[in-house]
């Protein structure tokens, strides 16, 4: 058999093994979480002994359940996305459509550095900001939900920038020219042509960002998360978050049941990100169908 054919076989075999391995790992991971966590999944895990209506409506605080952490994580992710997605998309648009090559190089360098920054550094950054504020403008400043959201937003910003830029640049030149040839201004071309055409790519960046925001613990530990904070009422309140809760459980558990509750929380975290993925995908669908079918 010629060498070319053998190497072809080997390569494609390797590719198959790699993808199968990926699926297997995924299944094992989720299966393991399910096995350990499922037993812990009940109202008690969420609300302890508080009736769920009272807990959800906020009439009665929950001390021993993960409900405040669920709400805190949800707030954190949504808030961080609300900050990072518009900013990231704007930067991506600038990079791909407006910036001169020279400026693009500098901004790209900045984005790469941001992308390479470990999250603990981002947390330290947020912490330093608070220290600075305390010494200067705002003596009563303290770490809080808003600060965490800003730092997490910084963390996921590079994903959204890069993915926006890349999917805009991937629009084929002959499609790209249609806009100006029909008399669109540059801004109209971006809004009505380029963004709808690259919405799928941008969506994948947003999903990546959401995943990253949901999982990160290092940043929030330095910028506002505490155990037993309850449900945050205002942006400058302390808050709880599931990854931090899991971390605490893993560090301090005293019985298998407690550890299993940790696995249950992990499942909930997965579910939250899953729900957010679905929501974002649905949003993109709605936008795209509006663009494709209706006028």
């Amino acid at each position: 058999m010629p060498v070319r054919r053998i190497s072809n076989r080997v390569l494609s075999g390797f590719a198959w093994i790699a993808s199968a391995g990926l699926c297997l790992t995924m299944l094992t991971l989720i299966g393991f979480l399910m096995k350990r966590g499922m037993t812990a999944l009940n109202a008690k895990l969420f609300f302890d002994n508080v009736p769920w209506t009272a807990a959800v409506l906020g009439r009665q605080p929950v001390f021993d359940g993960i409900w405040p952490a669920v709400v805190g994580s949800f707030y954190l992710i949504v808030l961080a996305s609300l900050i990072a997605v518009p900013l990231g998309m704007a930067t991506g648009i600038t990079l791909s459509e407006y910036a001169s090559p020279n400026i693009r190089r500098w901004i790209s360098l900045a984005v790469d550095i941001l992308a390479g920054t470990p999250s603990i550094i981002m947390g330290l950054f947020g912490f330093t900001i608070i220290l600075l504020l305390r010494k200067t403008l705002l003596p009563q400043a303290r770490t809080c939900l808003l600060l965490s959201a800003v730092c997490i937003a910084l963390l996921i910003l590079p994903y959204i920038i890069r993915v926006t830029q890349n999917s805009l640049e991937a629009v084929l030149p002959h499609i790209r020219l249609i806009g100006p040839s029909c008399g669109f201004t540059q801004w109209q071309t971006i809004c009505y042509l380029l963004l709808p055409l690259s919405s799928r790519g941008i969506l994948s960046g947003v999903i990546l960002g959401i995943g990253r925001a949901a999982e990160d613990t290092a940043v929030i530990m330095l910028t506002g998360v505490v155990a037993q904070a309850g449900i945050p009422q205002r942006l400058w309140d302390k808050f709880e978050a599931i990854p931090f809760h899991i971390y605490c459980v893993a560090a301090e558990y005293q019985s298998v049941r407690q550890l299993d509750a940790g696995f249950g929380s992990a499942l909930i975290l997965l579910a939250i990100t899953g729900i957010l993925f679905l929501a974002v995908t649905f949003l993109q669908r709605v936008v795209v169908t509006r663009y494709e079918i209706l006028s």
Partner: protein, 254 residues
């Protein structure tokens, strides 16, 4: 023919891509009711000429343009390269259809309707009427009226080409620049487009790039031959009446 009646006038136009000169000192006039055909071998700069008339080349950062293009509409003269008329209006008035049919990956309806809404600012039912009118112009209406909301990429090549033409017509241009409108079409569809061009030229001044000499003879009122970025020969009606002479000239200058 005097220059007063021309709709579009290109004077001394030169274009560079990076340091390479692609067009040199082009002079060209388009007259109302006339169809001018631009011929020249591949890479001679035909598409570049078309795209510098509506300043589309400016999108490429490496492109540099010199010279003047003047568009004379009913009411005013617009100096394309130095005017206070917004660039978007200039580009709308100089309608252009590309060499490769470039439909948007949207619905057939939206392909025509969206530019009408955005560029002309029309709303509501006016848009529907305009879309139907434009599609009838290119005799596409009957073929697509039942599937207006299907994706435009499901159309055949010729239908896509006509859809692009309809999109341009819907924007009320003064001049039409068509880059090989019958490339990749079978001869029957090509003949259809040629007949269409015959009708359209009564209302628009038209500049068509063509690779087919037979087609050129059938549709042209005037022929411009471009070679390596220079306009080397222009032929009027009289010369075109005699095909043998036309082919002889082409042999010499092409």
């Amino acid at each position: 023919m005097n220059s007063l009646s021309s709709v579009l006038e290109v004077t001394n136009l030169s274009v560079w891509f990076s340091e390479r000169q692609v067009l040199s000192d082009i002079h060209l006039s388009l007259f109302p009711g006339e169809l001018t055909v631009l011929i020249g071998h591949s890479g001679s700069g035909k598409s570049t000429l078309l795209q510098s008339i509506n300043r589309l080349n400016e999108i490429f950062p490496v492109c540099r343009t010199q010279g003047e293009v003047q568009l004379c509409t009913e009411r005013k003269k617009i100096r394309v390269y130095q005017s206070d008329v917004p660039l978007s209006e200039i580009r709308r008035r100089i309608g252009m259809v590309f060499q490769t049919p470039a439909v948007l990956p949207f619905s057939i309806f939206r392909n025509v309707a969206m530019p009408v809404r955005i560029t002309l600012g029309y709303r509501g039912n006016v848009i529907n009427e305009r879309v139907e009118w434009a599609l009838r112009q290119v005799s596409l209406w009957d073929e697509v009226k039942d599937r207006l909301h299907k994706n435009a990429s499901t159309l055949s090549g010729g239908q896509q080409q006509r859809l692009c033409l309809a999109r341009t017509l819907a924007l009320e241009p003064d001049v039409l620049l068509l880059d090989e409108p019958t490339a990749s079409l079978d001869f029957k569809s090509a003949r259809k487009i040629e007949a269409l061009l015959g009708e359209l030229k009564t209302r628009y001044a038209i500049l068509v790039v063509s690779h087919s000499l037979g087609q050129t003879l059938r549709v042209a009122d005037r022929v411009c031959v471009i070679r390596d970025g220079r306009m080397v020969r222009e032929m009027g009606k009289q010369e075109l009446r005699n095909p043998a002479e036309f082919y002889r000239v082409i042999e010499t200058y092409f």
